[in-house]
Point group: C2
Chain length 177, copies 2
Amino acid sequence: MSSSKQPPGAPLHRRIRQPGPGDRDAVLAFVEATGFFRDDEVAVAREVLDESLAKGPGGHYQSYVAVEGGTAVGWICLGPTPCTLGTFDIYWIAVSPDRQGRGIGAELTRFAEAEIIRRGGRMVIIETSGRPIYDPTRRFYTKLGYREAARIADFYAPGDAKVVYSKHLAPPADASR
Amino acid sequence: MSSSKQPPGAPLHRRIRQPGPGDRDAVLAFVEATGFFRDDEVAVAREVLDESLAKGPGGHYQSYVAVEGGTAVGWICLGPTPCTLGTFDIYWIAVSPDRQGRGIGAELTRFAEAEIIRRGGRMVIIETSGRPIYDPTRRFYTKLGYREAARIADFYAPGDAKVVYSKHLAPPADASR
């Protein structure tokens, strides 16, 4: 989990925490504003966010937001992959368009990986689209140590493949001492 | 959707229908009796079955049972794959161990495919394990026209790969006339 772009330690004015009901509108606004998601996908994001807000740490979906100046500017959502032992999905990552390119997505991903390890996870799955608009997204995952594990043609729609990224997580070094 | 093993038309004493609350115990009993599923997987099957019983045709999960002599002896469960246009998952197929090898699984699968086409689907995804105990299951899907679209090592557990099968569905012939 090294990064050459991120200074060690996030800037003081940014933090990652669980979202509260007051973050809901901001998150949904930037999920839509990214322009990456169809209406039906935004609807799924809303459902997932609402379920994680309603059920909290005991629920299936675990959400975290990156907050700057009191406002949520990034969102990540993870959960254990059903019927697996130790595999987790990162279901959603989104960063407000006016805050992209500043390492927020990478910070959220590393935070999520640490949380998955804390919950006993050993492997992370991220599914994304093979469409050209997602080229930067896929490069982002590759840079964070994810590798393409599968590609299923026509999955999301005709001509729109699903690309599955996976990463094996190592337990924290001090746990093996 | 041809089959060399199945006579055209199922035997009169077998039918496929939506399950009612009275089928629940029989379905869960044979899901467990197959010996294919861990306790946590049986729990997921129970959740999915209960949701399809509670929400019926308007819900996400659509269940169908094969019934012989008034008793459910096979179960199939499908639903639209979230965030896709026209892709459906067949989430569960199970046949009572004492009725296997008689074409019930194939009949349920063809029924599910027809239902998916009826609902506007164009592609079916079935995910299963790469473990040797699933060899007959994977041969079963291949025989029904599914092809291996992806294989993700260590997905279900260390050493237990996920194998993803897909099948493109053609609309019924008379719809294109």
